[in-house]
Subunit: 160 residues, 2 copies
DNA sequence: CGCAACTAGTTTTAGATCAAACGATCATCA
DNA sequence: TGATGATCGTTTGATCTAAAACTAGTTGCG
């Protein structure tokens, strides 16, 4: 490895961000996965600033919509997060009147989750913002979208 | 949406994890990206328990190795994390004698970062563990690896 | 020169996340 | 029936992260 003789020539037009070698990292799927997720997350948040759109909230509400009566535990597994992180999200959603929890009489440890009408309306609004973001991603990956999702899904399924 | 008549038949061989509909989420690249990154990260951590292998540490050391004399700010950009999160990592690495910081005389605000011999040795050990993990990912994606990384890289480049 | 605007790194504050421990409830089986 | 062990949801503690405020140093320009 040559000592990367830093070209600090005084006339070089200030290389705002000098190129950085990623080295072995550049060949790691895990690393690029993190970078991409991070970039996606940040872009999402940028758009989200407008609405009260937090990614976690959106995912939770969307899953409840698709699975009315789902329990918090199943919800946590579907959304890929620990069950303990679901608790505060649900509390916030309930406080804001967007979801309703009802005890399941057959198993009084569990709760059944539903969207309220206000929740349905809110989800519809959030969906538009989210769809806009994902259209951006769609444009980036083009016709490889299906293949990309299939690969990501396989990673999740295999690694548990 | 039919009320998902939950098949709670008493003789059904306990459906450990009843199928959950992801709904619109299932078509979102961003969502699958998060799930996959999460699964990868957790699998990594599982293996990492053995060594003192924290993903952040590993990435930082690998980038320093590939770019001796790099500054913390450039490092934060390359690793996709905020500069303020780099500080404690560097402090820990320096405390453990794995990196060295030296002031840059040309700009006394900046620090140049290097791996110490102990750091080089440690990185080599960590690399083996990391490589093992990424081989797992390689096996999952098979010959699509190159394409997958290209897609992820394009996402990062486009979304900034 | 000397002031204003900018940059590098740190500290502080706030939020998200996981893991482990806990109370309440349920299932199993003698 | 009654005790043991499992499961659901919550709480607590630790770690990781970003954003904003701050200090020290630098650059530009009158």
């Amino acid at each position: 490895m040559s000592a990367t003789t830093k070209s600090r020539g005084s006339e070089v037009a200030r290389p705002k961000t000098q190129p950085v070698t990623l080295g072995q990292l550049d060949n790691y799927i895990a690393f690029h996965l993190r970078l991409a997720q991070n970039a996606s997350f940040n872009a999402f948040k940028r758009k989200a600033g407008e609405a009260d759109l937090r990614p976690g909230r959106f995912a939770v509400m969307a899953i409840i919509e698709g699975n009315p009566g789902i329990t918090p535990l199943a919800l946590s597994r579907a959304s890929g997060r620990d069950k303990s992180t679901i608790t505060p999200v649900l509390r916030g959603l309930e406080r804001d009147g967007l979801i309703a929890r009802s005890r399941i009489e057959a198993d009084r440890r569990s709760h059944a989750l539903f969207l309220t009408p206000a929740g349905e309306a809110m989800l519809q609004t959030l969906t538009e913002a989210a769809a806009e973001h994902d259209r951006e991603l769609d444009a980036i990956v083009g016709d490889k979208k299906h293949e990309l999702i299939a690969l990501l899904r396989r990673i999740v399924a295999t690694l548990d």
